[in-house]
């Protein structure tokens, strides 16, 4: 019952997001067909507007769009007339997803590790080193870090290609650049969460009972400390796998990150809608999965509609 209700809420959420985006998008001034070479005769312009239903009143455009959306038809791009929005997403999503997944894995493994190490060595050298790395990760933006990585690893030392996409070597530098900030955030989050947990009575009890240090940390410490981190990595995960404009631009990665930005500049209405719906669907789905996963990590949380 809970799951059915959640699924319905999800659909509702996506519908609200799509409708709002549609409305806001129509309020931005500017015309998708405008350019500095203003050469289209009115007759042809009307033809093209008709092709994208832009000659209809906005309410009608909305109805037509929603009708197509139900059948998962996101229409054709205005900018690249021969490409459907579905194919733009299908072509770009795998590269973005792969890169995002790799970055997520790197960020999680090293972020958690750094955080745990720091917490267990609170106020000792290792703590300071870990948190120093974390602060660098947070404060150096990716558009600075990426060119630095390229400069050393690709240009100076010639170990990896500068940019482009295709082999696994191509994905190393962008993965690192993309992972840095989330890694740092996770590390700091994990550290404070871990510190909080280790001060709890049940840890002290377990310690007093003579539980081995490693069991104490893994079974009682990490398992409880990781909960707040999980609720935070959901949205992070979605934003990583749907591509990032900056990293994809710097490393020339054929992902969909740029379409989120460029489509708005081009007033490419179908692409604006398509990418927004794609993103929000993934986000809503991930949040749903995370909610469910709580249940397994923390049995105290019950999947009832009235609960938590």
């Amino acid at each position: 019952m809970y799951i059915v209700k959640r699924l319905l809420t999800m659909l509702l959420t996506i519908w609200v997001i799509a409708s709002l985006t549609f409305l806001i998008m129509k309020f931005i001034p500017g015309d998708p067909f405008a350019s500095d070479a203003d050469v289209l005769p009115e007759e042809v312009l009307q033809n093209m507007r008709a092709k994208y239903n832009l000659d209809e009143p906005i309410a009608m455009q909305y109805v037509l769009y929603m009708k197509d959306l139900v059948t998962f038809d996101l229409g054709y791009s205005i900018q690249s007339e021969t490409r459907s929005v579905n194919s733009i997403i299908a072509d770009g999503a795998p590269a973005s997803a792969l890169l995002g997944l790799q970055a997520m894995v790197v960020a999680l493994i090293f972020g958690l590790l750094l955080g745990i190490v720091a917490a267990l060595n609170q106020n000792k050298a290792l703590d300071y080193v870990s948190m120093f790395i974390a602060i660098i990760g947070i404060s150096v933006p990716s558009f600075i870090l990426a060119p630095l990585l390229i400069k050393y690893f690709a240009v100076e030392w010639g170990m990896l290609p500068v940019a482009s996409w295709g082999t696994w070597q191509h994905s190393i530098l962008p993965t690192l650049a993309l992972a840095a900030t989330p890694l740092a955030v996770i590390a700091r989050f994990m550290r404070s969460s871990m510190l909080e947990v280790t001060n709890q009575n049940y840890i002290k009890t377990a310690d007093a009972k003579g539980l081995s240090k490693s069991k104490l940390v893994i079974r009682h410490g990490i398992r409880n400390a990781i909960l707040p981190v999980i609720s935070f990595i959901g949205p992070l995960f979605v934003s990583l796998i749907t591509g990032t404009f900056v990293i994809e631009k710097i490393f020339a990665i054929p992902g969909i990150g740029r379409y989120f930005v460029d489509s708005i500049f081009n007033r490419d209405y179908p692409v604006i809608m398509g990418t927004t719906i794609f993103f929000s669907t993934l986000l809503v789905l991930t949040l749903f999965i995370i909610d469910i996963s709580y249940r397994y990590i923390d049995p105290r949380i019950k999947l009832t509609s009235g609960g938590e």
Partner: protein
């Protein structure tokens, strides 16, 4: 400034000559004939009917060939046609398609393919943005605007090899026009079978020196030498890869690590660094960077004030210290690059004014007196948001302050909003750039025709419009260019705009390659390019 241009042309000519002498025999057998270049972004459309941008055009020019094509010096020569005959009145052309003109799938290119392609572009349902280039065809405009029928369009395939083209009026640069991608043929059955044939390499069929073999969207386009091309002997490269690297620092570093062999649009710090390198080249680009004046808004209602605002800009300082990419200061509208019987059109026409702060100040005072202004109405300079435009606008602002004592306000808007604003005429002075798709003064000067949709200045001049109309039907080239010079003179007398500079393209090209041609209105052309060393 002109000297380097000449030496460049000379250099290209020598290179071509040397290549011609060594032709075929040059032992490049062991070197893989491949080049990797940077298209910077995904070409939006590789369908000749739909493409409107230079990136798409760059690929199209390599994989297709029109009735006319360009030679190494940029002059139109017969391409897919082996013969062209013009009627007495200059209105009817009869083309014979080459016997050996082939599609990349091996089938014959027919006159019918041309007829089909052009009518398809004009078909209002196709929604082609460049259909207006085909308005020169008889009945073309009427059909495109839904007022005429397809049967009345002046292009007919008499048989497989004979194409008859009828024009509305004689056109002095029809051969140049036919080199444009909007006039390329498309293979009828391929297009009819699949409307989206041009979206993927698998379904793509073309008739040029190269064929499209791979299109990984947002990553790379690969074209390979087409064995079926009639003149494939002159094509040396086996494979050209267009990468889509948009970030300037990244593609510069890819060039440095040999991941790219040719890059363009260099950032100014790179130009500073590479200026003396052998790999660096500056090529004039057939376009003009300018500010439009709205002649319906004070103070630019007054011609003297407009002229004062022109003369007060120190273009030499601006190009050497601000833009720094070797741009030519503009004192006219038509850029260099058009060959006429009297030499280069620009050189023959000369500069229409000189930057002169003192004269500018005087003109401003006279203009203000004429209008009875004791104080100049406040001026806002509008530009579209970009670091580059901002730098230039700020420099111009400082020059007005210093040379005219006028405080100009700056305002910027995001591109599409900006286009809306300027189209509605909500500006006094606004930035614009114009680049000729074809190398002919008409393409540039048409911009300020009274009924041109591009002309946002509200400036309408009957004499100008008449001279342009006369020039278009004039058959004698010398008289035609004379009329165009006269038209430009009218424009430069009235100055509804403020030309700042003529564009330049900057390239870094690996020294491993020879015979790359750098046209003034396109990206480099690789038909004859050859890799000569590793």
């Amino acid at each position: 400034m002109k000297k380097w241009l000449k030496s460049l042309v000379l250099l290209a000519a020598v290179a071509v000559f040397v290549a011609g002498c060594s032709g075929g025999t040059s032992g490049s057998g062991d070197i893989a004939q491949e080049i990797t270049i940077n298209a910077m972004s995904e070409p939006p459309d590789l369908d000749p009917a739909l493409a409107t941008d230079t990136t798409s055009g760059w690929v199209l020019d390599h994989v297709f060939e029109g009735l006319y094509t360009k030679d190494e010096n940029g002059n139109p020569v017969l391409g897919a046609a082996s013969n062209a005959e013009v009627s007495e009145d200059g209105k009817t052309y009869t083309f014979t398609i080459r016997d050996d003109a082939k599609w990349s799938d091996g089938s014959n290119v027919t006159a019918g393919d041309f007829e089909y392609a052009w009518k398809r572009t004009l078909n209002p349902d196709t929604g082609s943005s460049f259909a207006f280039y085909l308005y020169y065809l008889k009945g073309g405009e009427a059909y495109n605007k839904g007022e005429g029928s397809v049967e009345d369009v002046g292009v007919t395939a008499e048989d497989d090899k004979t194409l008859v083209v009828e024009l509305e009026a004689p056109l002095g640069y029809f051969d140049e026009l036919l080199t444009m991608w909007s006039f390329y043929p498309v293979k009828q059955d391929v297009v009819e079978e699949n409307e989206k044939w041009s979206a993927e390499a698998e379904t793509y069929v073309s008739n040029g020196p190269f064929k499209l073999t791979k299109w990984e969207h947002d990553s790379e386009v690969v074209i390979e030498k087409s064995e079926n091309y009639w003149d494939s002997d002159v094509v040396k490269l086996d494979k050209v890869t267009y990468k889509m690297v948009n970030d300037a620092t990244t593609y510069y570093q890819m060039f440095k690590t040999d991941e790219l062999d040719l890059i363009q649009t260099l950032p100014s710090d790179v130009i500073d660094q590479e200026k003396d390198s052998e790999e660096y080249s500056e090529v004039p680009y057939f376009g003009t960077y300018m500010y439009m004046f709205n002649v319906d808004k004070e103070p630019f209602t007054n011609a003297k004030v407009r002229k004062a605002f022109n003369l007060a800009v120190d273009r030499e300082t601006l190009t050497t210290n601000v833009t720094k990419a070797g741009e030519t200061p503009a004192h006219a509208f038509v850029p260099e690059g058009v060959e006429t019987p009297d030499g280069d059109f620009r050189e023959a026409g000369g500069a229409y004014f000189e930057d002169d702060a003192a004269e500018a100040k005087k003109l401003l005072e006279e203009g203000m007196k004429e209008e009875g202004w004791t104080e100049l109405p406040e001026v806002t300079l509008l530009y579209n948001t970009s670091e580059n435009h901002k730098k230039i606008a700020e420099a111009v602002q400082a020059m007005y302050k210093e040379n005219l004592g006028v405080d100009v306000k700056l305002e910027n808007q995001e591109w599409k909003t900006y286009l809306d604003t300027t189209k509605q005429g909500n500006f006094q002075m606004a930035r614009m750039g114009w680049i000729g798709v074809l190398v002919d003064p008409v393409v540039i000067l048409d911009y300020y025709l009274g009924d041109s949709p591009n002309n946002r200045t509200n400036w309408v001049n009957e004499e100008y419009d008449q001279l342009m109309a006369d020039a278009k039907v004039e058959q004698d080239p010398e008289k035609r260019y004379e009329l165009l010079h006269q038209a430009e003179a009218v424009l430069m007398e009235e100055l509804p705009f403020n030309p700042i500079y003529h564009y330049t393209n900057n390239y870094l090209t690996s020294q491993d390659f020879d015979n790359i041609v750098y046209p003034v209105n396109r990206y480099p052309y690789l038909k004859w390019a050859e890799k000569v060393s590793e």
